[in-house]
Symmetry: C2
Subunit: 439 residues, 2 copies
């Protein structure tokens, strides 16, 4: 027999909570037609239940007490949308212990406490849906777990923070500096008053932790992710990149190299011919390369009430279908998935990666500077692909731009340290990792 | 209790059959780790089992008799990869009646006979997996059915035929004519000796039929799809399009307008700013707009042994997981899905759509021609956005290019008929539908 009603409780009536509620109410007929299941929004908990959210909610479902829905025996799925670690983690753990399935968009929580949460869920035979935690409405979690299940994942490259992508796009299109682009992002509501998480790569690193765990069957290891934000990028770098045929994007990268898993977030020069270089504004995209499927890419909005709500509801429906089947036999069981299957793995330190590099040296405008710098690069086996040097400033410093072939990051760090000590170099060297084919 | 072995039989040991077999054999450990299930390739049927497929197959699994695996009580999933209508349809129906789940990449069969096949599958309580039938390795079927399940689909725009996309890309990049680009595609194995299905939009229409059915919950109605191929496109049109800021792509379009479902395949001018205009060569991409998620796009290889094999195996795994759960309780049941849920629907005829249009008129180089042509357009309420007229050929004909604002296709057809009867027009008018914002 089919139980065709699934009851939902949402904790957190902010942007995504409102989008999710709206979708559950507005598209419930559509979803019922598609699945045969009635998804009923039974409760919404938030500290502020007076505020007008611009949505008509049936009477009696708002509460200020999350425990009310976590402990409600009639609620099948608890949706956590308050974000942050506390009290979200406790709410989720309590819901799991009450044998409720959980859907969450909380990447910070999953990236840092996810192992504990998933373990508790496995113990209690419940599901955790987290499609909305990475790349908003793009169903990238489902793609990795199911669509590409037959593939060894070669590499994942993601633009998974809309705020920083908006800032870099604005700097590129309008030749403005970082600070002005950030201000505009804040004015438009794309960046928060404290933008640290977005512009320092922390949010991207949270999401990358999840993608990496799914791709390589390793635990969630946020602390191992190398993070570098976009605050040092100048419009001059963007212009040099353009001259060399590249866009600068904040990429979250995870890939296997020599048996080690790389996890890194940093500004990256991406060749203009690559589709992902065309992903602009607040849009997100995740490029996934599999050993069978080859190159694939998934593009869409990474944030916002309705796009993220779309992912939350997709998780609710997936879990609802599973509950529906279990109800038939009154049985529950765990689902194998590709979250963790490796018993041995190695995480690569950033010093151990290889890449191509863009350097912007601040060189005094004197004879012999290029020779000194290129000499040091040569000593560290860093081979030069292109050089741009222009402009003259009598007695001042000029940017000297060098693009390299593949080199070891460890060598790059050592070379830069030595170069920055030269008396003919007036400021710290900026370097950006470069993707693309050796050329 | 978990039954952890699922047995597979493949009918058709061609390109995709070989890719699927290779993947099942090579990545079986990975898949077992991810799912907890052993997927075992038990039999492969093909008329030619002598040919070297470049893959090591365990002894005793090859047979020339498809019935051998259709009737094998130990086989859980029959994978049909021979293509075409006969005998593929009979094999599939027989497998279904033997209570076997079926996975197929056969878009022509599903588009034209799919309603009968799905009905039979529902009757027998088995699943039909068809991820590989559209856009090769891109998990677009899963995205539409599950990832975007909460969305009303506003529109789908697909580049879903790699051959025609390769030809148009080559014509664009190298300024060659259609015939030469086709020859090159044939030389590279991207086009068949008889390229009709690819270049006339038939293959795209098969796939669109499936996408449309999933998006709008309507039956599979291949006969209702409007089809127009790429054979009339000249490199001159591509150049004019480029001058106006567009690329020409063969798009498969399905969308809702005024309550009617549009299904059409035709060359389309796509603005250069649209990401899908950058999808080049043999790559496929499907743009999907949902009412909640907004704009999304899915990109990858639309054909080839391993990419398509990736989709076939993803279906096998999905079905395997379901079987695995059913075995626990020895029960089978149907799965609701979003294949068909509309009881009433209206399909729009091509005459009833609205679009912007590009016209290339073959005008005699005489005074008053533009005035006559634009007069007729005006009479049919077709309003002009841009005109390009250049080159002079004394006494000969010159191309006169007109880009319009939104107009009704019916008016366009009537206007063109009238214009082609003018004595100052020397050849049939070519028109291409144009996507993008009114400008």
């Amino acid at each position: 027999m089919n139980r065709s009603v699934i009851s939902i409780g949402i904790i957190g009536f902010g942007t995504v909570g409102t989008g999710t509620a709206r979708l559950l109410l507005q598209n419930s007929n559509l979803i019922k037609k598609r699945t045969g299941i009635d998804f009923v929004l039974k409760k919404i908990a938030d500290l502020d239940i007076k505020k007008d959210r611009g949505i008509k909610i049936p009477e009696g479902i708002l509460t200020t007490d999350a425990a009310e829905l976590i402990n409600d025996p009639d609620i099948d799925i608890v949706v956590e949308l308050i974000g942050g670690i506390h009290p979200a983690k406790d709410f989720i753990l309590q819901a799991i212990r009450n044998k409720k399935h959980v859907v969450t968009a909380n990447k910070a929580l999953l990236a840092t406490k996810g192992n504990e949460i998933f373990e508790e869920a496995d113990k209690n035979g419940v599901e955790i849906g987290f499609e909305a935690s990475v790349a908003g409405g793009i169903p990238i979690i489902k793609v990795l777990r199911e669509g590409l299940v037959a593939n060894n994942i070669i590499a994942v490259y993601g633009i998974i923070n809309g705020t920083s992508n908006y800032i870099l796009t604005k700097m590129t299109d309008e030749k403005v500096e970082f600070a002005d682009a950030l201000k505009e992002a804040q004015r438009l509501g794309y960046a928060e008053a404290d933008p640290t998480f977005d512009i320092e790569g922390i949010d991207s690193a949270h999401k990358l932790t999840i993608l990496s765990s799914l791709s390589y069957g390793i635990p969630l290891m946020y602390d191992e992710v190398y993070k570098e934000g976009i605050t040092k990028i100048t419009s001059q770098d963007i212009e040099f990149a353009s001259e060399l045929g590249y866009k600068i994007k904040l990429l979250a990268i995870t890939k296997l190299s020599d048996g080690g898993v790389e996890m890194r977030v940093h500004p990256t020069m991406v060749p203009n011919e690559y589709l992902i270089s065309k992903v602009d504004g607040v849009f997100n995209a995740v490029y996934v390369e599999g050993d069978a499927v080859g190159a694939t890419m998934y593009y869409g909005r990474g944030a916002g009430d309705m796009p993220t709500g779309s992912a939350v509801v997709a998780d609710i429906v997936d879990i609802g279908k599973k509950i529906d089947k279990r109800q038939e036999t009154e049985g529950r069981r765990q689902t194998a998935d590709n979250r963790q299957h490796r018993t041995e793995f190695k995480i690569k330190k950033i010093e151990d990666i290889e890449s191509m590099y863009y350097f912007r040296f601040s060189a005094l405008d004197q004879p012999g500077v290029l020779s000194k710098i290129s000499g040091i690069l040569g000593n560290y086996n860093i081979s030069i692909a292109s050089v741009i040097q222009k402009g003259r400033r009598i007695g001042g410093s000029v940017p000297l731009v060098v693009l390299t072939h593949m080199a070891k990051e460890r060598d790059v760090l050592n070379a830069v340290k030595e170069i920055d000590n030269l008396t003919v170099v007036s400021d710290k060297t900026l370097f950006i990792r470069v993707e693309g084919k050796e050329g």
